[in-house]
Every structure is written in structure tokens, then in C-alpha cells.
């Protein structure tokens, strides 16, 4: 009897220790670094943290033996603050992956530090196509969009739709110039003409005189090569001057659904823009967005939030597959495995770090066409993944041979 009990006890102990060994937990720390208090707070901000957490839960990370902690910080759109936080996160706080980072100047700085510390940077919020071009790195994945894709979407699609003469209202700084240059190139390649441009100080407040010049040019399309408050102010003031009523179309070259919501359909109707994601696109996006809105004060997710969700999902899948978080192994896994999620559908991460997926050209609905608070867009065209992004060879990325 006693020996029997002993054997039973021993067997039980052996079994328990066996299963404990099999459960090697991987601790992962994700840092969501974005603008939480400034001009991009609505399109990224706390919503990105919500999206990241949702991805961790939907992936059921805990059940798979992966402990994920999500922290966040505000880079205030300043590269020095962003790079300070990134450095501290990697050096002192054990962060493995930095997510989001809108504002290209900050994103470039964070990409540099991530390369130096050999961690992983999965960007969703920034637009600079240099992240997968001149400044590409083996540690960067650029998920959601870039200026080339936006220029290509809005530029070529509008020319095809009849908008073949353009005038640019450009924010006078590097990003604005890049946006204008990329879009202008696409317009001319598609058979359109660029009639002129005017550069406004960045950030601007009063666009009346510049809008007047745009009006005077007679161009069919006025391209707004700026972002954030500059774009929304320009659109508001354009409405004041009756530009759209006068027959010219406005193209927002970097506009988000939160900008349109803030402007209201009365002011923004007819605006054409390109985005990578819209909450009402299909059942998959609708289901996610409903859950997101419940956790984010009723506001629908922007493409930036969606990108954070999808990139976390893809990363965790790679961690699970490689059973660890070794940077080189995980990056390789992410690039060799095609991605699939209900938000972006099928996609893949290219050698230069660029994630390719379909992009969509949208037009803002007229007030009478909208049936709900967030019913803002109608889809004009879908740009398939193969055409939506800059060809791999054209970027000047050193990783592509």
C-alpha cells in the first residue's frame, strides 16, 4: 500500500514537472509610441494602445505561453523626445517592439535607434516612404501606408476619373515637398498636368491667400500636400471661399477618417482621398470596428489603429512559430510568412520591410447620402496590392539586391 502510494505520488510529481517544463513562457514587451496629446492624437493616440491590446487578446497569447505587456508613451511629434523614449525603452525598460510612431521625423529617428539596439520596429502611423527606401533597415516593418501609395492612389485614380489638371497647396517642409513631388510625378505619368504650386508656411493658420491662388489657377484638382490641422483648416477655408461649389475638386493627400469626422460632411463632402482601411469595408472590418468602438468611446478605428492591430498579430504569430523573440529569426519569419487578418485581408512583408496590401480610393459622402454618424466614405476604387506600393527595386533600399 505504502509503496503504491509512493509510486503514485512520484508519477504525479513527474507528470507535473514534465508539463511545467513544456510551458516555457516567453515574455514580450510592446511599446506603443505615438502622439497622445497633439494633432495626431485622434488618429493614433490611445486608440493604438486599444488596438494592440485587442490583438494580444484575439491571438490568445496567454494560452500559447506568451506573456505580453503593452506600454505606451507620448512623443509629442518631436524627434528628440521620441528618440529619447525609444532609447530608454530599449536600454532600461526591456521593450522588444516599438509600434505605431506617426510623424515621419520621429519614425526615422526611432528606426535608427531600433537598428542600433537590434530590436524590432513595426510602424503604422508614419508616411515617409524613406522608411523602406533610403532609410530602410533589417529591423523595420512599415505596415499601413506611405506617401508613395497615397500619391499613387489619389493621383492616378483622380486623373483617370477626369481630374487631369492639378494645383498643389504644399506645406513648406520636407514632408510636404515629398508628398507634392510624388503626387506630381504620378499625375504626369498618368497623363495629367501640374499647373503650379504654392508653398505655405508650416504650420499654417490662414490659407485664404493660397486658396485664392489655387482658385485662380483654374486647375480641376487642388492637391493638399499637407497633413493634420493644415489640411482640415485648408478644407474649412476652401468651403468658405466656395471652391468646391465652383467646380474644383479637393484631394487630401494625407487625410484620415478622423479629420473628415472633425470637419463634418457639410464641409468635407466631395473630398477624395486614399486610405488602407475603412471600418465599413466588409464584415471582417465591421466586426473588429464594433468591438474597437466599444473600448474607445464610440469612435471608429482609423487605418493607423488597424495597422497596429494587424502588425501585433503578425508579430505574435512569428514569435509563436519561432518559439522565441530573437530579432533576426522573428523578422525572417514575418517576411517569409504571408499575413492574413480580417482588417487588411491577405498581404505580405517584403524584403525592404514594406507590408503590401490593397489600398482604396474613397470619396467623402454628401450629407444626404450618410445614414449614420460614422457613415462618411463611399469607395471609388480598389488598388490591388501588386500596384499599390512602390516597386521593390525603385526604393534605393540597401537590403534589396
Amino acid at each position: 500500500m505504502k509503496i503504491g502510494k509512493l509510486i503514485l505520488a512520484a508519477a504525479a510529481a513527474a507528470l507535473m514537472s514534465g508539463s511545467a517544463l513544456a510551458q516555457d513562457k516567453i515574455d514580450v514587451k510592446l511599446g506603443v509610441l505615438n502622439d497622445r496629446s497633439g494633432t495626431y492624437a485622434d488618429l493614433s493616440g490611445e486608440g493604438s494602445v486599444v488596438a494592440a491590446k485587442m490583438a494580444v487578446e484575439d491571438f490568445k497569447a496567454a494560452d500559447k505561453g506568451i506573456n505580453v505587456e503593452v506600454i505606451s508613451a507620448d512623443h509629442q511629434n518631436k524627434p528628440d523626445i521620441g528618440s529619447s523614449i525609444a532609447r530608454q525603452w530599449y536600454d532600461q525598460d526591456g521593450v522588444d517592439v516599438i509600434l505605431d510612431v506617426p510623424t515621419s521625423s520621429v519614425a526615422l529617428a526611432v528606426a535608427e535607434i531600433t537598428k542600433e539596439k537590434n530590436k524590432i520596429f513595426m510602424n503604422s502611423g508614419a508616411g515617409s516612404s524613406d522608411l523602406t527606401g533610403k532609410a530602410c533597415s533589417p529591423n523595420t516593418v512599415h505596415w499601413t501606408y506611405d506617401t508613395w501609395a497615397l500619391a499613387n492612389g489619389t493621383g492616378s485614380a483622380m486623373v483617370k476619373a477626369g481630374g487631369d489638371s492639378w494645383f498643389f497647396l504644399t506645406a513648406d517642409y520636407a514632408f510636404g515637398h515629398a508628398l507634392e513631388r510624388d503626387t506630381g510625378a504620378v499625375v504626369e505619368k498618368s497623363g495629367g498636368k501640374v499647373l503650379g504650386n504654392v508653398r505655405h508656411p508650416f504650420p499654417g493658420q490662414d490659407f485664404s491667400s493660397f486658396l485664392l491662388q489655387a482658385q485662380g489657377s483654374g486647375a480641376k484638382v487642388i492637391g493638399l500636400a499637407n497633413a493634420g490641422a493644415d489640411t482640415t483648416n485648408a478644407i474649412k477655408q476652401a468651403a468658405e471661399f466656395g471652391i468646391v461649389q465652383g467646380g474644383q475638386k479637393l484631394a487630401g493627400l494625407l487625410t484620415f477618417v478622423t479629420d473628415v469626422k472633425a470637419l463634418g460632411l457639410n464641409t468635407a463632402q466631395g473630398l477624395v482621398l486614399t486610405e488602407a482601411f475603412y471600418w465599413d469595408q466588409n464584415d471582417g472590418t465591421r466586426e473588429f470596428s464594433k468591438r474597437f468602438a466599444e473600448r474607445h468611446g464610440g469612435a471608429m478605428p482609423t487605418m493607423v489603429h488597424a495597422g497596429v492591430y494587424a502588425s501585433v498579430l503578425h508579430y505574435l504569430k512569428a514569435v509563436e512559430a519561432t518559439k522565441g523573440k530573437d530579432t533576426a529569426a522573428v523578422m525572417a519569419k514575418m517576411k517569409e510568412t504571408p499575413s492574413e487578418d480580417p482588417l487588411f485581408g491577405k498581404g505580405e512583408v517584403r524584403a525592404d520591410g514594406r507590408h503590401v496590401h490593397d489600398m482604396y480610393l474613397f470619396e467623402v459622402k454628401k450629407p444626404e447620402e450618410s445614414t449614420a454618424e460614422w457613415d462618411l466614405y463611399k469607395t471609388v476604387a480598389t488598388i490591388p496590392a501588386a500596384e499599390a506600393f512602390r516597386p521593390l527595386a525603385d526604393g534605393g533600399c540597401s537590403l534589396v539586391q
Partner: protein, 327 residues
């Protein structure tokens, strides 16, 4: 500040007890050096280096404000342009760090000479406004000029090898170099203040007409201290660019000019050790309250208001009054 301002520990400055004060000051400097030696084992070295750069910046600013009696609302111009030139020199011209820093510092000196020569012609609030105007022009220049990289700034600045053999990408080496630069800068300021030149400067600050009547060319002294202040501010900016490996528009923005005024006011105008204390507090606050985002601005504003209403001598100023010795 003109004679209407409350003088900082007036008796302590006018009644100079040289030897005893000097011994006190040397002790404080030694303690400071000791603190700098052990600090990296207690705090994140990168944060400390940033702090030291700003402490030097504030000390340089105080040379002009506390000892020269001139409030410049545009010191970011020297800090920022030095930072840009230093970054550009290290990255594009491939200069070794000591030459890059030298390039940056020289730029600041030149800028200080030009702006100072023009600004000195005016007094008080008009002087402050001229310096602000020049700083704004510098900001817009930085925004437009291609070499500054606009919004992106100059990124990925290489740290290189100091004097050809000290590897600055090693954190501890870099730290000791920055600490050395800081100490040298502050010692230089100390020397300037406690020299005959410094005495005349204080006399001009307290009563310019009287100093002029005694035969001193007030304008020359004011320009000299302006250039010195701008140069040392430039040294701080140039060093910062190598440490942070980044030069951006924040460095030339007028908010930066406002911040250095706050650091000096909080720490104690007209004291040697005040500005570094002020800088330490403000930088630490910005770092630890970073998660609070916009609240940092509010807190800084509150500190400003309290400092101006109740605390004009600043922390070290109050300390100095207490021990009845100049600091």
C-alpha cells in the same frame, strides 16, 4: 536687470570676502566633480548627459542674465544653430567629434557677435524683443535651409572617435567626455565672473550710468559677455548633438529660449550653481512626467508663476541668502 530689480544677495556680492568664498566654491566644485563620477552608477547615463548639456546651456545663459543683467529671449538661436552645424560637420563633412563641436561652437560665437552687436544698441524690453526677433528669423532659416533637414532634423549623427582614439559610441566614455566639457564650461564661467572683467560687468548691471561715468565703455563689456554667453550656449548645443545623435527644430524654437529662462530663474539668477540646479529639476521633470504629455506644460507654467511671484532668487539664491555667502 536694472537697478529696480531686487538684487540677489546684495550684501554677499558687494562685500566680497574673497578667500573664504573661494574655498567654499572650490569645495562645491569638488563635490560636483565627485557627484558626476558616481552618478552614472545611480542614474541612466544617457539622461545624465542630456542634463549636463542643458545645465551648461543654462549656466551660459545666466552669464548674460544674472551677471550681465540682459534678458535675451532668443538664446535658442545659438544653442540650436551650433547643434545643427555640429551635427552636419560630424555627419556630412565626416569631422571627428572635437572638430564638429568646435565648428558648432564657432558658429554660435559668430552668430552671437552679429546679433549681439545689433541688439546691444537697445535696452530692457526692447533688447529682449530684438533677440526674440533674431531667434525667430533663425528658426525660419532652420526650417527652410536644406542642410538642416527641416522637420526631420539631422538624424543618425555619428559619434566617432574623440581625438582619434576615444570611442564615443561607448556610453561611459561619452559620459566622461560630456562631464569634462560641462565642468570646464562652468569653471570658465566662474573665472569670468570672478575676474576684473566680471566685476565691471556687475557694476554695469547694477548702475550703468555710474559705470559709464567712471570711464568704462559699457557697450564693449555688454557685447563681450553676450558673445561669451552665446559661445558657451553653442558649446552646449554642439555637444548635445553628438550625445543625442540628433539636431532638430526643437533646438531653435522659441519655447527652448523660454525653457532656459525658466531653468535659470528657478535655479537662481546671478549664482554660479543655480542654473545647473534649475536645469536638473526641469529636465528631470520633463523626463518623469513625459507620460503625462501636455500636463508638463502646465506644471512648467505653475513653476514659472510661483518662481516669479514668491521665489525670485531661485533655489540656490535662497540657499545663498541663508548661508550669507554668494553661490
Amino acid at each position: 536687470m536694472s537697478a529696480k530689480a531686487e538684487p540677489v544677495s546684495a550684501d554677499a556680492i558687494l562685500v566680497d570676502r574673497p578667500t573664504r568664498n573661494k574655498r567654499l566654491h572650490m569645495t562645491v566644485f569638488l563635490a560636483l566633480a565627485g557627484l558626476l563620477l558616481i552618478a552614472p552608477s545611480l542614474f541612466y547615463p544617457f539622461f545624465l548627459m542630456k542634463l549636463l548639456c542643458f545645465a551648461l546651456f543654462a549656466s551660459a545663459f545666466n552669464l548674460l542674465l544674472g551677471y550681465g543683467g540682459l534678458l535675451s529671449f532668443g538664446h535658442a538661436a545659438y544653442f540650436g544653430m551650433a547643434s545643427y552645424v555640429s551635427a552636419h560637420a560630424a555627419k556630412v563633412w565626416d569631422l571627428s567629434p572635437e572638430l564638429a563641436i568646435l565648428a558648432g561652437t564657432t558658429t554660435a560665437a559668430a552668430l552671437g557677435l552679429v546679433f549681439g552687436a545689433l541688439a546691444i544698441r537697445r535696452q530692457g524690453i526692447y533688447f529682449a524683443m530684438v533677440t526674440l526677433a533674431f531667434a525667430q528669423m533663425t528658426y525660419f532659416f532652420a526650417l527652410q535651409a536644406p542642410f538642416t533637414g527641416g522637420e526631420d532634423g539631422i538624424q543618425a549623427v555619428p559619434q566617432g572617435y574623440l581625438f582619434g582614439f576615444l570611442d564615443l559610441s561607448d556610453t561611459m566614455t561619452l559620459y566622461y567626455v560630456v562631464a569634462a566639457i560641462f565642468l570646464l564650461g562652468v569653471l570658465l564661467i566662474y573665472r569670468i565672473v570672478h575676474s576684473p572683467f566680471g566685476q565691471v560687468l556687475k557694476a554695469i548691471r547694477d548702475n550703468e550710468p555710474r559705470a559709464v561715468s567712471l570711464g568704462y565703455r559699457a557697450d564693449h563689456y555688454k557685447l563681450a559677455v553676450f558673445v561669451l554667453s552665446a559661445t558657451l550656449a553653442g558649446l552646449a548645443g554642439a555637444t548635445k548633438a553628438i550625445v543625442v545623435q540628433l539636431a532638430s527644430l526643437t533646438d531653435v524654437y522659441w519655447g527652448m529660449s523660454g525653457e532656459v529662462v525658466l531653468m535659470t530663474l528657478l535655479g537662481g539668477m546671478g549664482t554660479i550653481f543655480g542654473p545647473m540646479v534649475g536645469a536638473a529639476i526641469i529636465i528631470t521633470m520633463q523626463n518623469y512626467l513625459a507620460s503625462l504629455g501636455a500636463w508638463v506644460t502646465v506644471v512648467q507654467g505653475v513653476v514659472f508663476v510661483i518662481a516669479v511671484l514668491l521665489f525670485r532668487e531661485g533655489i540656490v539664491g535662497v540657499l545663498s541668502k541663508w548661508i550669507k555667502k554668494p553661490l
